[in-house]
Amino acid sequence: MIAGPIAAADWLVIAPVLLPIVAGAVLLMIRHNVRWHALLALVVLAAMAGTNGLLLRMVLDKGPVSMTMGSWLPPFGISFTVDALGAAFSLTASIVALVCCAYSVRDVDATGRRYGFYPFLMLMMAGVSGAFLTGDMFNLYVWFEVFLISSFGLLILGSEKAQIDGATKYAILNLVGTTLFLIATGYLYGTFGTLNMADLATKAGQIGEAAPLMTLATLYLLAFSMKAAAFPLNFWLPASYHTPPVITGALFGGLLTKVGIYALLRTLVMIFAAERLVLAGVIGWVAVATMLIGALGALAQSDIRRIAGFLVISGVGIMLAGIALGSSGGLSGAIFYALHSMLALSALYLLGGLMRQRGGSFSLHRLSGLYGASPILAGLAFIVSLAVAGLPPGSGLWPKVMLVRAALDVGAWQIAAAILLSGFLATIALGRVFILAFWRVEVSGDQTTTAGALSALGCTALVVLVLAMLAMGIAPEPFIRIATTAASGLLDASAYVHAVFPAGIGS
């Protein structure tokens, strides 16, 4: 029953989850010593990014790695199994969280700290990394709950009326989603007698018509689409993401919907590959609708945070398009787009926060003359807008090129057209922000707004994200390579299965 000794390097698999859990626990214990919170959080997030980087390098060098907790043998123990997909997502998430945490040092006031912004942030990051790294279906559910509960805490920090209102919608929809996820997982266990993803990936192909796999795949599609805010289950996102402090919006918009996309990739592409093929048409149209609804919604809004919320939805549609295509090119495009989107959408929220610092408002009716007031911010805003809209030299271009090509290869013209059209609409929406907030001559008269100086730390945080996006846009080859490795790992799970069961299943 006891497996042989393992190398200390294998502990990298668990380190990105263990670090934030321990840090969150310590922060809970020193809840009232708020001076240490930000510093400890920054150090731990930097350590997380470091371990995630090492993990990604190890996975790219040696293929997927796995560790089963407590020396139990898989599939009975809970395995953490990391392939290029999980490691790349986890690394990007920890970098975004690190940058957001640096921004938050000036943005979160003493009350927010006493109510536990940093402990919640740590536990949310534990949940997000856990979801990316785990190799067990029920464990994935547990990590979903961990980051959901922490995100409830972050969402209502400050207890304003609008926040409670937004949080109610967020909480109810997400609880329905996770309940569906739990039901599907119970059903899955009843059908297969196992929850280990590697085991499932093998058995789902063999069980054939003997089990209601279509029901399972559809349930998972519904549950995770709800979490990812895909049409028609997207309305909770713009209703809630603009209510908390901008830093919380940046974290949620950057990371949480991507966990839904990740879970969809894992279940529908790796485990239920045959069922995904049947559902591809539905997913394709859902993707088209999500892209367009998101982009149109962004056009109709005048609050920068709401515009960012709708652009998050539009991006979810683009990633779903890759899942609908299911080819190597489509999946790599979707994975690359997810990595880009974590950076770009967080950057967009941070940009909103900085515009508010300088111009005193989130509303396009009030913001004006920022170009004269702060040329640096205007430059950053220009690059962020290009990246989010998918124009060169931003990072959004290449994944969209990959997706459009993959769509045209199989003649899915509606997907290709929707990607291009939604990019066009997003360009107009962000161009509108730029024209009104930056180029418009300062509107005088209404002096209720409180303009101030930009915080240097906040600007640095945004600059880091902008540099990362430019690197992705100008030198995309390494990222494309990672995305392609990740996609081929999903399409052919044999290396993933071999990492969990070195001696083969059933021996």
Binding site: A3, P5, I6, A7, A8, D10, W11, I14, L18, I21, V22, G24, A25, V26, L27, L28, M29, R31, H32, M67, T68, M69, G70, S71, P119
Partner: protein
């Protein structure tokens, strides 16, 4: 609550429930019970105490803030998985030792530390919720 019977009985009940919760916690390794169940019993003991003598009395008696207790529990549970690193085993592998104490062998293990951590998480978080609810009654 100002009932004489309730106020007289509560200290005994609280003591009994706390002792029983530790018993349930320790017996839980091989039999029904464990950290979660034990923690719930202990949290209900504090809740009863709060109903009888008021929330400030419980907070004074606990000394630490309930959330800090929960934080320490989480810390203990997470750290309980670490010693297996030294032995080249995966995270959370149970390590046992049975030192002899007054002629009796006592089984100590990292599993027990983990379970005590769970106990403290449950005690801390549920007491926190219960006390917050009882606080509101007087508003």
């Amino acid at each position: 609550m100002q009932t004489l019977i309730f106020r007289t009985a509560t200290p005994f009940l609280t003591c009994l429930m706390l002792m029983f919760s530790v018993f349930v916690l320790l017996r839980g390794h091989n039999e029904p019970g464990g950290g979660f169940t034990g923690g719930l019993i202990a949290a209900s003991a504090f809740a009863i105490h709060g109903i009888a003598f008021g929330v400030p009395a419980v907070r004074r008696a606990l000394y630490f803030h309930p959330m800090a207790i929960a934080g320490f529990g989480l810390f203990a549970s997470a750290v309980a998985g670490l010693p297996s690193l030294l032995f080249g085993m995966p995270f959370l592998t149970g390590l046992w030792s049975a030192p002899s104490l007054f002629g009796m062998s006592v089984d100590l293990s990292t599993v027990m530390v983990f379970d005590i951590g769970v106990y403290l998480v449950v005690v801390g978080s549920f007491t926190s919720i219960a006390l917050a609810l009882e606080d509101r009654e007087h508003d």
